[in-house]
């Protein structure tokens, strides 16, 4: 369906820097994203995710470094870049006073979809977004989830090889989010490269690869599995006890415990060697009069990876 004539990475970012005055929003970022990949951009607010995306869409000039999208340099050939991308900005940005169909037709027009193709593309988008019944509804009357789907639909009318989605699911309920990710998978299967930012850690699990951004820098890059492994799989323990806060203060600073953090109703403990650490933990807690309910090795989630990496960064900075 997609004409991906060009070989090489869909997105190539090389030593990209963006400064706003003295503030370094993007600090020497280098990433390659392959065609058809779902690439997740993670990080807290203000980490530089949106700024990077805006540079890639030709909306902001970089301070230094280079980036190509679909093989075109974002600085020297922004027009070619724009023909090859679909962009969904963080803020909902369709026209509230136009109907669903009118928004689709407008974006079809500005993306240069031919009159012959437009009806088929419009119907495809309406079906994909599940908006067939609401085609004549005024866009302002749609709920958040529908608006996001419509915005995604408008961004893919011209079948762009590369999609940039900037926090597409913020403020959308979990069911709608799940549905939205199903759409992203469909697009990826159809050959679209999807570059998506999020701060929902569960969404990071859906990506083929993720980059974790912090303070303008990429502090980790890899598939979710690789990142979890780097944290040391099997070395993460989940502790449920009669006193969560008490056990945290008991265990923090003990030589066997590398990191301890409250997670849900329990504690996540990072240890060097579970074989040695588990009996010692039982002992420490028994002495403190805390009753252990469960203590097991667990697979780290992306949230563990995220928290662990950010804590390391903060320690290094301190």
């Amino acid at each position: 369906m997609l004409a991906n004539s060009q070989s090489g990475p869909a997105v190539h970012i090389d030593k990209l820097v963006k400064k706003f005055g003295d503030f370094v929003a993007v600090d020497n970022v280098s990433i390659d994203v392959s065609q058809g990949e779902i690439f997740g951009f993670l990080g807290p607010n203000g980490a530089g995710k949106s700024t990077t995306i805006r540079i890639l869409c030709g909306l902001l000039p970089p301070t230094s470094g280079r980036a190509t999208v679909g093989g075109f340099d974002v600085e020297t050939r922004p027009e070619d870049v724009k023909h090859n991308i679909g962009y969904m900005s963080q803020k909902f940005s369709l026209y509230d006073d136009l109907t669903v169909e009118e928004n689709i037709e407008f974006f079809g027009g500005v993306y240069g979809v031919s009159d012959a193709k437009l009806p088929a593309r419009r119907d495809y988008v309406l079906e994909m977004a599940g908006l067939e019944d609401k085609r004549r509804a005024m866009t302002r009357t749609l709920s958040g989830g529908w608006k996001q789907r419509l915005a995604l639909g408008c961004a893919i009318l011209h079948q762009p090889p590369i999609l940039f989605l900037d926090e597409p699911t913020s403020g959308v309920d979990p069911i709608a989010r799940r549905g939205f990710w199903r759409l992203i998978y469909d697009l990826s299967d159809a050959g679209h490269t999807v570059f998506v930012t999020t701060h929902y850690m569960d969404e990071a699990e859906y990506c083929h690869r993720v980059a974790l951004m912090y303070g303008g820098r990429v502090i980790a890059l890899g598939s979710p599995e690789e990142l979890k492994k780097s944290l040391g799989e099997g070395n993460l323990l989940n502790l449920d006890s009669s006193d969560v806060r008490g056990s945290l203060s008991v265990l923090e600073g003990k030589p066997e415990i590398l990191e301890a953090a409250v997670f849900g109703a329990g504690l996540h403990l990072k240890v060097r060697d579970p074989g040695i650490a588990i009996p010692r933990i039982y002992e420490y807690l028994k002495q403190a009069g805390i009753h252990v309910l469960t203590l097991d090795s667990i697979t780290p989630s992306m949230e563990d990876v995220f928290v662990s990496l950010i804590e390391q960064e903060e320690k290094a900075a301190a």
Binding site: S89, D97, L98, F106, G108, G109, Y111
Partner: protein, 375 residues
């Protein structure tokens, strides 16, 4: 420039306009209200004009002329005086708007069948009323002059004696009349409405966050500017037609020249004015700021520096130079030339050329401003 993209943008803008009937109604009512308020206020009928008479002649002939003023409902003779001084004081106190001064040799000249003169003094500080008073006073003098000629001509073949009103308007030598005002008002109205309409369109997209989306599409700045401009052109042209129709049919301003030329030149001016609005709009990211700026740079120059009310020739040199950059100045001459003098392209082409150049420059900068980046 891509036709499909430009058309999509124009269509979208048209939908915005139609979906906001309140703003549309306001935009269409504006010229009507402005014309009626300005035009009507300036052409109100004037009667019982407080008049002083200074009759130096004191003859049956001079009394005959004064009877002409007494007989008219437009004049109310307040006092007969015997010097200029009381007239001066009365005008200063606004007790008198018109003074008729009949010279000593009035009857003698008539008797000799020589042309003679009557002085009319007017308080030009209320220029509109003064203009109307002047018209009526001249009519009274002309009627008297006519009355003299008829018996003289029948008596003999001699050159008839004539009486000419010698008018001196104090305080404001450039008198306004509604014929003069209405075509000028059309210019001012088009300028203000166009700049205001245009000034909101880009700023609104910034406020709603849609501008970022638009900039990520292949739509080029010139297409964006032209698409937006063509939608508002329809509204601006409707405003212009309303203003012209009201001017011709309600204020009875004579349209001596070509209607086609008037419409074509108005369209050129409208294009430039809309371009200015869009340019201003692209410079500010808030609708309020853009609107205020649009009003400031359209209304004031169009009103003050276009020759609409104040003659450019009487302005200080610096202001005259500034006025060269006010497009309304050129269109003012074109509009009045077509309306009142029936001028054609052969005399107006240079002004039209300047308007085309202006429209081109403004459009270029509007598109350039739209090229800007997000932050």
């Amino acid at each position: 420039m891509n036709y499909r993209r430009t058309k999509a943008i124009a269509r979208k803008e048209m939908l915005h306009i139609l979906r906001d009937p309140r703003s549309l109604t306001a935009a269409l009512m504006q010229p009507l209200v402005m014309l009626l308020i300005f035009g009507w206020a300036l052409s109100l009928d004037v009667d019982r004009i407080p008049t002083f008479v200074y009759d130096m002649s004191q003859t049956p002939e001079s009394r005959e002329l004064i009877r002409g003023f007494r007989g008219s409902r437009y004049f109310a003779i307040q006092e007969e005086v015997h010097a200029y001084r009381p007239i001066d004081q009365a005008i200063d106190k606004r007790a008198c708007l018109l003074a008729v001064v009949i010279p000593e040799d009035f009857a003698k000249n008539i008797g000799l069948k020589q042309p003679t003169r009557v002085q009319l003094l007017l308080d030009g500080s209320d220029s509109n009323t003064a203009a109307i008073a002047q018209g009526y006073a001249e009519a009274v003098v002309a009627a008297y002059s006519q009355q003299l000629q008829v018996p003289i001509q029948t008596q003999s073949g001699n050159i008839p004696a004539t009486v000419n009103a010698d008018v001196r308007v104090w305080y404001n030598p450039d008198l306004l009349s509604s014929n003069f005002i209405v075509p000028g008002l059309v210019v001012v109205i088009v300028m203000i409405i166009a700049a205001n309409l245009g000034s909101l369109t880009v700023a609104r997209e910034w406020e709603n966050g849609t501008m970022e989306q638009l900039l990520s599409t292949p739509a080029r700045p010139a297409e964006l500017a032209l698409g937006k401009l063509s939608a508002y052109f329809v509204v601006g042209a409707a405003d212009m037609l309303i203003a012209l129709i009201v001017g011709v049919f309600i204020f009875h301003v004579p349209l001596k020249g070509s209607v086609t030329l008037l419409l074509v030149s108005s369209s050129i001016f409208l294009f430039g004015a809309l371009g200015l609005g869009i340019m201003v709009s692209a410079m500010f990211r808030s609708q309020l700021m853009a609107y205020q700026m649009g009003t400031l740079i359209s209304f004031l120059p169009a009103f003050l520096l276009s020759g609409f009310i104040y003659s450019i020739g009487n302005m200080p040199r610096v202001i005259q130079i500034v006025s060269l950059f006010v497009p309304a100045r050129y269109f003012m001459e074109v509009a009045r030339g077509i309306f009142l003098k029936g001028l054609g392209v052969e005399l107006l082409w240079f002004n039209l050329l300047l308007l085309i150049v202006y429209a081109g420059i403004v459009f270029y900068f509007a598109a350039r401003k739209l090229r800007q980046k997000v932050a």
